[in-house]
Symmetry: C2
Subunit: 238 residues, 2 copies
C-alpha cells in the first residue's frame, strides 16, 4: 500500500513547524530519501496570533485562517492533516469541519502518551501557554484517562509565556533555559508525577532537564504522523 501524505498546518510558530519536520525525519527508519514521509507544509507565519485572540483580547480568531489552510492542503491532495501547535487546538473544530480528511489531535495524542509512559500517574503537569489552561484543552482528554492536569502557579505561568515569546524571536540562550527550568520545578511542586511539554515552542529547548518523566507533545504528534504515513498505525477515522 502506498504511503500516506501528511499535510501540516504550520507557522505557529515557523520554528516549531521546522522542529516537527525534524522529528518526523528522526522517527523514520530510512536508508535513502524514498523511505521518508512525504509532507506538504504550509509554514504560514500570518495565522492570527493565538495568544492575542485568547489572552490579550480583541485579536482576530485564527480559526478561519487555519480552516482555509486545511482546505487548500486537502485540495492539494494530502491524506491527513495535523497542526503543530497546542494552543491552536482551541480552533481544532474549525479545521475539522472545513475538510473531509482526518485531522490529528495533538492534545489527545499527548494525553494518551502520558498514560502509556506512566500507567500509575495521577497528576500531569502541563507546560504550556496560559491560553492552554484557560481554554481547558487538556481537561477532558486527561481526565478521561484518570489524569488531573496541573499548571504553573500564576507568577511562573507569566514567566513561561515570556519564555515562549522569547523563543519565537529565536532566543534559546542559557538564561531562557534557566528560567524554563524554574517553571518546571514549580509545576513539579504542584504534585505532577508526569509532565507534558504542551507547547511546540518549548519543545525547541532540547537540552532542558526534567525531574520526572516527560512527554513532548511534538514527539507524540511526529510518531503518529510517521506511523500513519508508513502504515504501521491504523489510518484514523475522520
Amino acid at each position: 500500500m502506498a504511503d500516506k501524505i501528511a499535510g501540516i498546518i504550520g507557522g505557529m510558530g515557523p520554528e516549531a513547524t521546522v522542529d516537527l519536520m525534524e522529528r518526523i525525519i528522526h522517527f523514520t527508519s530510512a536508508s535513502d530519501d524514498r523511505d521518508h514521509v512525504h509532507c506538504v507544509v504550509d509554514n504560514n507565519p500570518q495565522v492570527p496570533s493565538r495568544i492575542k485572540a485568547l489572552l490579550e483580547g480583541g485579536g482576530e480568531s485564527p480559526g478561519p485562517c487555519m480552516a482555509e489552510m486545511g482546505r487548500k492542503l486537502e485540495q492539494w491532495g494530502v491524506d491527513f492533516l495535523c497542526i503543530p501547535c497546542n494552543t491552536a487546538h482551541n480552533y481544532y473544530q474549525d479545521v475539522r469541519e472545513a475538510v473531509s480528511i482526518p485531522v490529528l489531535n495533538i492534545i489527545e495524542l499527548t494525553a494518551r502518551a502520558l498514560r502509556t509512559l506512566c500507567p500509575q500517574a495521577k497528576k500531569a503537569g502541563i507546560l504550556a501557554s496560559p491560553a492552554v489552561r484557560l481554554t481547558r484543552l487538556y481537561e477532558t482528554p486527561c481526565r478521561a484517562l484518570g489524569l488531573e492536569p496541573v499548571y504553573a502557579s500564576p507568577v511562573m505561568e507569566q514567566q513561561l509565556l515570556a519564555i515562549i515569546k522569547k523563543i519565537k524571536t529565536g532566543d534559546t540562550s542559557a538564561s531562557v533555559y534557566k528560567q524554563y527550568e524554574e517553571v518546571v520545578a514549580d509545576v513539579c511542586g504542584q504534585g505532577a508525577d508526569v509532565l507534558a511539554i504542551a507547547c511546540t515552542e518549548l519543545g525547541i529547548l532540547h537540552e532542558a532537564h526534567y525531574p520526572c518523566p516527560v512527554v513532548d507533545a511534538a514527539d507524540a504528534l511526529a510518531r503518529a504522523i510517521v506511523g500513519i504515513a508508513k502504515g504501521t498505525l491504523p489510518f484514523p477515522e475522520r
Copy 2:
C-alpha cells in the same frame, strides 16, 4: 507591499529541505511569528533519484516529477519557486518551462556569492556529488564571473558520494566529518582559493572546518529567498 510567498520543491533530500527552512528562519529578522517568511513546502521524498538517473544509469528522470511539483505549488498560489538541491538543477529547465513564476537558481546564486566573497579568487572548489561535475552545472555560471571550477580527485569524489549517501541515512557522525575534511583538503590541493558547498546534504555538516573561504549554496539560496520574500531584494524576472 505584502510579503511574497516562497514555494519549495523539496525532498531532495528531506533533511536538506528542513535545513533550508532553518536557514530561512535564521536569516530573517523577526520579533514575532508574523515577521517570518511564508513558505509552502512540498517535502517529497519520492522524487526519482538524481544520482541514479545521472550516475548509475537507467533511472527515471526526476524532471517531470519536479515540474509537476512546481505546477502544484504555483496553483496553490506561491509567488516564486526554489529547489534546495544542487544536482537537481540539471532539471531546472523542466521546472522553469512548467510554470509562469520565477524559479530561483541555486547554482547562479552560489557562483555570484563566491565572486562577492572573494573578488580576487581564480579557482572555485566545488564540493558536490559527481553528478554536479558530470552535468557541468557550475561551468557556465562560474566562468562567466572569471572563476574556474575545480573538483575532488576521482578517489576523493567517490568518497564524497559515499558521504552524501550516509548523510541521507541520517549519519552525521565524527567519522563522516573526518572523511569529509579529507575531501576538502584534496579540493584545496587542486588550487581552489574559495570553496562552494554545492550539495545541500553536505551543508548539514555545520561543524566542518574549511582551510579557505567558503560559500554554502544553501545559505546563498536562503538569503535570496528571505530578501525576495521581504522585498529587500528585487523580485526576480521570470
